[in-house]
């Protein structure tokens, strides 16, 4: 029975692997592929987006105030501060490391800026520049101790967590809390700065810019791939993607315009996200970060200077912590001794992870900082509206946070294939 001898097939090698399932033409093809992807757990940020919508609906149904445009302003305004810490952390997480110092560095930076610009009356932009440089230098120091001396990053940055908090107290020392003056970057980041002074055109111009550049990028790439004869995404798919982004962008612009416009802090945040995304996906520096996060030894053997990558990534994280600190200070109007709130660290890590960046290195996007912060800010605002007791608030926050990730985990579980060793 096992001895039936078939004549071996001897077909010529086809150009495309016959086992690769192709999408059938037309809408049905999309639907089928989508179902297949969801089944296979290959669903990108879809679950988080669903989680987000569920959060919005829940809070909105329990308090109609939640659907007011001012909610969007609140979220857009408070996201960038901790969000910037999260962006820096995404870089570090991509390496498979952690930076526990971002909270302290952000607090220190606010203090440094306040002392320079307010106490000593330095030019505010120069003060900003010095502050960010300080953050980058601190990060580089962490990176150096980690990469060159070999102390685990966890310990280096835990020490940083303590040391920079001490330095912050020392810097604020004699004066304590310092009120910031509404000038320079601080003005730009604080509550009264909106794109085009809050004119409705501002939001729409941004939306048009975003959609146009995305369309230009995707169709340009399609054209080049077509010319080079390598596989490319069909026009219909690109149209769907651009369309979805367009809907998101214009709805956001519309809602924000109902209130006061797009906060400039949010614009800066988005601009930095776009830049970082570009660096990570389109430059060889970014590629090296992913490589080191995936396999340190393979990267080393490929001639990548692992130490240089580590030092630069921690320095980036330090710079973002500094900028985040400036933003938080601007948002609250003062640099104070509680600036290095460890809670900010926790929320920043949570944002990155909720948004889909792996803690184990090599997998993630800076957009996860955005998505995660959107989730967290949405929950926080919902809870803040209710004037709850602290105990209830902690409980709900924890449960909702978990729930937001459970959707994702359940969807991905099917995918968690046994992987190769």
């Amino acid at each position: 029975m096992s001895n039936d001898t078939k004549t071996p097939a001897s077909a010529p090698i086809p150009a495309v692997d016959p086992r690769l399932l192709q999408r059938e033409a037309g809408l049905q093809g999309y639907v089928n592929e989508f179902v297949r992807k969801v089944r296979g757990g290959d669903i990108g940020s879809l679950p988080v987006v669903i989680g987000l919508i569920v959060i919005w609906l829940t809070f909105g149904l329990s308090n109609s105030q939640y659907f007011a445009p001012s909610t969007a302003t609140y979220i857009a305004y408070w996201m960038p501060g901790v969000g910037l810490l999260a962006v820096g952390l995404v870089f570090v997480l991509l390496l498979g490391e952690i930076d526990l110092s971002v909270g302290s560095v952000s607090g220190l930076s606010a203090a440094v800026y306040a002392v320079l610009a307010v106490t000593h009356g330095l030019n505010p932009w120069l003060a900003v520049f010095t502050t960010i440089l300080t953050g980058a230098a601190i990060g580089a120091l962490h990176g150096w101790i980690f990469a060159k001396i070999g102390v685990p990053a966890f310990i280096v940055t835990l020490a940083g967590f303590l040391v920079w908090q001490g330095v912050m107290l020392w810097v604020l020392g004699s004066t304590g809390t310092i009120n910031l003056t509404d000038v320079g970057l601080n003005h730009f980041l604080s509550g009264n700065s909106y794109v085009l002074n809050g004119d409705v055109s501002g939001g729409y111009i941004l939306a048009v810019l975003a959609v146009a550049s995305m369309a230009y990028g995707s169709f340009g790439e399609q054209a080049r791939r077509r010319k080079a004869g390598v596989p490319f995404k069909p026009t219909s798919e690109l149209l769907i993607r651009v369309g979805l982004v367009a809907v998101g962008a214009f709805v956001a612009a519309y809602v924000l315009n109902q209130d006061r416009g797009v906060p400039d802090a949010q614009v800066m945040f988005l601009a930095l996200l776009i830049i970082c995304d570009f660096v990570l996906r389109r430059t060889s520096f970014g590629r090296k970060i992913f490589a080191v996060g995936g396999n340190i030894e393979a990267s080393r053997r490929a001639g990548i200077s692992v130490a240089a990558i580590r030092i630069s990534v921690f320095s980036i994280s330090g710079a973002f912590a500094a900028l985040g600190g400036l933003t938080i200070a601007a948002e609250t109007g003062a640099a104070s001794q509680s600036g290095s709130d460890p809670n900010n660290l926790m929320m920043a890590i949570a944002a990155a992870v909720i948004g889909g960046t792996s803690l184990f290195g090599g997998r993630g996007r800076v957009w996860s900082a955005f998505l995660g912060m959107l989730v967290i800010s949405s929950i926080q605002y919902g809870l803040n509206m209710e004037s709850l007791n602290q105990d209830v608030e902690y409980m709900i926050m924890g449960v909702v946070l978990l729930a937001a990730v459970i959707v994702d985990s359940l969807a991905r579980r099917t995918q968690k294939s046994s992987g190769r060793g």
């Binding site: 105030q65 004699s174 003056t181 009264n192 938080i328 109007g333 001794q337 509680s338 709130d341 900010n344």
Partner: protein, 347 residues
């Protein structure tokens, strides 16, 4: 069977104290946290200076618990080991400190409760009345609201961290003072953190409508810094106040963005504590300083010196913080506040 541990040398506390202080006398000062400016900026230096003046050969050993009751318990034990004779404790947690107070007493150490009334066999207590602070805040707010203070006027209340027992006292005092006079439309904890307070306040303003907010209560000045920014952003034009008379708060009062703060004159408080500590060190009577008596949470009757807090507004800056030497006019009137200072008659 083989004898008690420690009996080979003399009693451990006495042996170590002689080793430590070489015959001189040590007073321990324990303060609770570091996110509020007052402790290391005022309380500590004022206390140390007064002790130096009263008892030149006594030394002060200092520790700050960084907001952790556990750390504070460890610090008490460290000081007991080091052979202090008197402990001045501003308890992070006035109930939890009880066992540490008992341990100190067991070694014959005298204990002065500072600012917060520690439980256990405390010898003396110096403080401001925390409920009174809350009451003053309430009065300050009502005064600043003026005619706007009606039973339907919406007030946003941002309290301190409920893990700090004082927070409840402030809240209680404030609630008593404003009960029936305004409508507390939003009430949540800002955890003593400016950013948290600012976010909660923003949520409250969105919720109630910026125009409908008639007043804002912030339990302290640190949080008020964040809330003031939120008010500016949301366009809320209503009075707000805190406590502690922090420099930034005084500046805001000058500029008109904050209405009042509660000034707890640290100098008399710290100096009274120093006086009590030195008296106890020398075995002298403390009845001249601790004239009142207060019952602590553990039921102990503690001889107390209760100071009166002062409501600080634009009108009395000169007579309070400036007169007491807390801040100089130059410190308050930096470039950003120069014109406001002139307007307020400070310069």
């Amino acid at each position: 069977a083989c004898g008690k541990a420690g009996s080979s040398s003399s009693s451990s506390s006495s042996s170590s104290s002689t080793a430590a202080a070489g015959g001189s006398q040590v007073i321990g000062l324990l303060l609770p946290e570091n996110t509020t400016t007052r402790y290391e900026q005022f309380d500590k230096p004022l206390f140390v200076a007064k002790v130096k003046q009263l008892a030149p050969n006594a030394t002060v050993q200092y520790a700050n618990a960084g907001g952790s009751a556990q750390t504070q318990a460890q610090q008490v034990q460290t000081m007991i080991n080091a052979g202090v004779k008197v402990l001045v404790i501003d308890a992070q947690d006035s109930a939890q400190i009880k066992s540490s107070v008992a341990a100190a007493k067991a070694k014959g150490i005298k204990v002065v409760a500072y600012d917060r009334l520690a439980q256990g066999p405390v010898d003396a207590y110096v403080s401001f009345d925390n409920e009174k602070v809350g009451e003053l805040q309430g009065q300050g707010l009502l005064a600043a609201m003026g005619s706007a203070a009606t039973p339907s006027a919406k007030v946003v209340e941002i309290d301190g961290d409920s893990a700090d027992p004082n927070a409840a006292d402030f809240k209680k005092g404030f609630t008593t003072a404003v009960a029936g006079k305004v409508n507390i439309a939003y009430d949540a904890s800002g955890l003593w953190k400016p950013d948290v307070a600012a976010q909660k306040a923003t949520a409250a303003f969105n919720q109630l409508g910026a125009k409908n907010v008639a007043g804002v209560y912030s339990a302290n000045d640190g949080m008020a810094a964040g809330i003031v920014t939120s008010m500016k952003n949301a366009g809320v034009k209503a009075p707000i106040g805190g406590q502690d008379a922090q420099l930034d708060a005084v500046q805001r009062i000058v500029a008109g963005t904050q209405s009042y703060t509660v000034y707890k004159a640290y100098k008399p408080e710290a100096e009274a504590a120093a006086q009590l500590a030195v008296d106890l060190l020398n075995g002298q009577s403390i009845t001249s300083v601790a004239t009142a008596t207060k019952t602590s949470g553990s039921g102990d009757q503690v001889p107390s010196d209760l100071l009166t807090p002062v409501l600080l507004t634009k009108a009395n800056i000169k007579d309070t913080v400036v007169a007491d030497g807390l801040y100089t006019v130059a410190q308050i009137c930096t470039a950003d506040f120069a014109s406001a200072c002139t307007a307020a008659g400070l310069q």
